[in-house]
Symmetry: C2
Subunit: 228 residues, 2 copies
DNA sequence: TTTAAATTCAAACGTACATTTCAAACATGC
DNA sequence: GCATGTTTGAAATGTACGTTTGAATTTAAA
């Protein structure tokens, strides 16, 4: 049935599954090597350290995804005339789903790992990510800015991070959510289904009218209270 | 300057800070007791275990917040006529900010802890939370349902979880975000500022028009591809 | 002041972890 | 087929963790 895999490959496969399920810190090398049916020492032999294994697991997807995204962003930027927000966000879909070619359920696993990466570890992953792929995401910011010219840059900054949170958290708790959805609403939701539900949600959110505090305090008199 | 605090109090204060910063698993009891300047054994003496300490840290805020939320939800539900979505979401603001009375920066710390709770630990916190406060949140679902009568229940389920992700992730990485915002846009953003920015974002997101797959595939031809 | 309970303390316990070691097994080019 | 470099294996190392222990100390009631 299954082809013969190298030790590295077996380690990466087991590691990504356990990392996505339990997080980086809560997954031990012993769990990984035991699931991969390889020797404990082989992780350090092939990857150097646990830290480098984590990065290798992510790299397998990033080296596929990021050039694809970069290409899409560049294409949209070249169109000169501004794209709609939903057009911009839609370019994520295909590259993300193509991660399923890298590995079965690759898209889901990658997004889960991304979520873990942003909440689990404090330093090295964020650095690793920004250092290697920061420029690609700058293009995304530019595209969204063109799509929402009325949005102040600082507001856009916050809303893009809100959106990152939406995606990342949803994927981190994806398993639990999908189970509840299936039990409560009898609907099976795969990663594509979740992404499709995210698009209109995020489009509306990012493009939401900017509400000033004065406007808000009409519907939210709570803000008038002092001293807290 | 500072009043004399009991050992329990000192442990809770140190624990909440470290938990919020580093997460539950990545914070050791030795770090906590060393910051609190108490003996290592006192955690187990006063709280029983690390698990129970985590719950105690959260309880300090939950026992204040949840009855307040419950009261607000009940009040809105009693109005009979449906409330607008932004009215519903606005009731979170005051109770959340009142957590600053529980402890300095209590609102921020609590939301950060909530974020950690949803991503760090797998089992016991989610159970603890749903078991104790599930009924309060059922009222919220009802209110949102009334505010958005056109939203199918399953869509509402997903969007509320998307929104939870937005809040929870934003708070978990709040420190980093606030730093960047201050450096890039020269604007100091406190927890109240973040909450105020979240409200219009979430209102628009939850109430976004429901897009069907057919509609979407016009702007996102990516979905037409097969085999992935 | 006496006494009993509550609290603190230093030390140790057992466990799990990432990493290292080094000999054995394996593969590969000559 | 031998020698060389690569990979695996079982075992050990050292560290950090949560928790337990039992004696010392403080607290507070009698």
């Amino acid at each position: 049935m299954s082809v013969k895999h190298s030790t590295q490959h077996k380690i990466l496969d087991a590691a990504q599954t356990l990392f996505a399920e339990t997080g980086f810190t809560d997954t031990s090398l012993r769990q990984i090597t035991s699931m991969a049916e390889v020797n404990l020492a082989s992780v350090n032999y092939h990857f150097g350290s646990k830290k480098e294994l984590i990065q290798a697991v992510l790299q397998r997807y990033l080296v596929v995804l990021m050039p694809r995204l970069d290409q899409e962003f560049t294409r949209l930027l070249a169109l000169q005339q501004p794209n709609s927000l939903s057009q911009v966000l839609s370019v994520f879909v295909k590259p993300l789903l193509e991660l399923n070619k890298v590995h079965q359920n690759g898209a889901r696993i990658f997004l889960q790992l991304l979520g873990r990466g942003y909440t689990d570890v404090q330093g090295h992953l964020r650095w690793f990510f920004n250092h290697n792929y920061g420029r690609v995401l700058d293009k995304l910011v530019l595209l969204v800015q063109q799509a929402c010219p009325d949005l102040p840059p600082s507001e856009l900054f916050w809303r893009l991070h809100f959106s990152l949170g939406t995606v990342v958290f949803t994927m981190a708790s994806n398993e639990a959510l999908a189970e509840i959805a299936e039990a409560d609403f009898n609907e099976k939701v795969d990663i594509e289904g979740v992404i499709l539900r995210l698009l209109p949600y995020l489009s509306a959110a990012i493009a939401a009218p900017v509400t000033t505090v004065t406007q808000l305090s009409h519907t939210a008199p709570a803000l008038a209270i002092k001293g807290i």
